[in-house]
């Protein structure tokens, strides 16, 4: 039922799109036909675009996202734990994290290019910087919100002070951390296209950028659709991970 509804919605959108294209209100360079996009899907998949196949572009982008998120999430969890547990660090680092979080990633892309050149490094750094703050903030809040009964219970059961963070605090904070991770991956996803505006080929963002330069709107639209669909897939995977990792979410214990 749900699936039928969703399929229906997609078909309806496609139909509207096709009708708008047929009416030629705007020239094809503004609104390409769905079939033209489909053709580009086949062509970029076999012949490639800017020297790489669609799969090659997508994999390059995903690789950056995965790397940036891995570094950003690991850093975010450690940083959040420190901020949550050590009051001095909270005072010192909280404003910094908030500062970075409110910056649009493009604002520091230029700086990263100056520092790291135009290879893979600035892109992964950009995604790292985009993914880290949401995880750090979520972790810090969750760590501070752990009910003290849990900490007291662990201490009464002989847990040593240095065991408490990883035996009790982090697992207690896991639901919020996983939510932070989902936000972080989302932010990284929206940032990757920006990261790839500078020497981004191979990469979906680079492909879109190139296509824009040559007014190949069908390729641009294809790139956008591919980014959106892969994002949906990744969020679905993260939701599955969430259910497996924190099955107690939302249940009163």
């Amino acid at each position: 039922m749900n699936l039928a509804l969703r399929l229906g919605a997609v078909l309806f959108l496609l139909a509207v799109w096709q009708v708008v294209a047929w009416l030629k209100i705007w020239p094809p360079v503004f609104v390409p036909e769905p079939l033209a996009v489909w053709d580009q899907l086949l062509r970029t998949s076999s012949e490639g675009y800017s020297g790489h196949t669609l799969a090659g572009h997508l994999l390059a982008s995903l690789r950056r996202i995965v790397l940036g998120c891995l570094y950003g999430i690991s850093g975010g969890v450690v940083l959040g734990l420190l901020i949550g547990v050590v009051p001095v660090l909270r005072t010192l680092l909280n404003p910094l994290v908030t500062f970075v979080r409110t910056l649009p990633p493009l604002a520091y892309l230029s700086l990263l290019v100056i520092w790291f050149g135009i290879g893979e490094e600035p892109k992964v750094w950009l995604l790292l910087l985009a993914a880290l703050p949401p995880v750090a903030v979520a972790t810090a809040d969750a760590v501070r919100g752990v009910h003290e009964d849990y900490l007291n219970a662990a201490r009464s059961l002989g847990a040593r002070p240095w065991e408490i963070p990883y035996r009790v605090v982090l697992p207690s904070a896991l639901p919020e951390i996983v939510t932070g991770v989902r936000v972080a991956v989302g932010v990284a996803y929206t940032t990757v296209v920006a990261a790839e505006t500078v020497n981004g080929v191979p990469g979906i963002g680079g492909m879109v950028r190139d296509a824009q330069r040559y007014n190949q709107t069908d390729v641009v639209v294809l790139g956008i659709i591919v980014i959106g669909l892969s994002g949906l897939l990744i969020d679905y995977l993260l939701q599955t991970l969430d259910r497996r990792l924190v099955p107690w979410r939302g249940r009163h214990i």
Partner: protein
């Protein structure tokens, strides 16, 4: 240790000199203990000696300092003045010699029941730990629940698992903070029987906090009534016939005294 004659409240009075197993110090002792939260006195001064093997219930209206008393004994908070001793040694923090059961079960939701019970057994070898966990599962009637997660248990089972977890490292003292307050009446009654059974079979010293007079007078071997804040012991009695009326009267007085202060 069923020694019926413990009316003399001086535990060190005539302790047999022989037998290293018999410690002269009470399991828990409070000497002129007070606790002040910010500017508000919460407890004391309180003097209390709890001999090993006793089942003490602490009863009083809510806010009288019962939980403060427990957290001082557990080592969660230091006394503002005075000394808390466990087995003759000053309490400096929480430790496995004093197991705690909270009002809410507070099981670790990411661990199974067996994992929760084994939490305090980290330093045992794997086989030993498994044996001890199995023993506790049997003692608390949770044999079939070893692999379940806390959110898959009923309220009574959760609290049983919490008791098993607290008992696992063989604490000398079991501290219970209104552990059955959140349970339905039927489950509560069963849990009361079970905790008495556990106390008898393990010989653990119990300090049990409640605001329920019936629970206080039926469960333990000794009752103290607390009035406050700041909490002071207004009654310290061995459980006997007719005690319930006395305790009820003490609680009524404490409650009306507070109402008088408040108005």
């Amino acid at each position: 240790m069923p020694s019926p004659d413990r009316r003399g409240d001086e535990p060190g009075a005539d302790v047999p000199a022989s037998g290293p197993a018999l410690s002269s110090a009470p399991a828990i002792e409070l000497r002129a203990v007070t606790r002040v939260y910010r500017d508000r006195p919460a407890l004391g001064p309180v003097d209390l000696a709890l001999p090993a093997g006793e089942f003490l219930t602490v009863v009083g209206p809510s806010g009288c300092g019962k939980s403060t008393l427990l957290s001082l004994v557990a080592g969660f908070a230091p006394p503002t003045a005075g000394t808390v001793l466990a087995d003759g040694t000053p309490v400096t923090g929480p430790g496995p010699s004093r197991g705690v059961v909270f009002q809410q079960p507070r099981l670790f939701p990411w661990l199974s029941v067996a994992g929760n019970i084994g939490f305090g057994l980290r330093r045992l070898a794997r086989a030993e730990r498994a044996a001890r966990v199995a023993e506790l599962l049997a003692m608390t009637g949770l044999e079939g629940a070893a692999k379940l997660k806390p959110y898959e248990l009923s309220g009574g089972m959760r609290q049983r698992a919490a008791i098993a977890r607290a008992l696992a490292p063989r604490p000398k003292v079991l501290l219970m903070d209104e552990p059955f307050g959140a349970l339905d009446a039927f489950t509560r009654e069963r849990m009361q029987e079970e905790i008495r059974e556990l106390w008898r079979s393990t010989g653990v010293t119990v300090l049990f906090i409640t605001h329920d007079v019936t629970e206080a007078t039926t469960l333990g071997t000794r009752v103290i009534a607390l009035a406050g804040p700041p909490g002071r012991i207004t009654l310290d009695a061995r459980v006997s016939e007719g005690l319930r009326d006395k305790v009820e009267a003490a609680i009524r007085d404490a409650a009306s005294a507070r109402a008088g202060v408040a108005s």
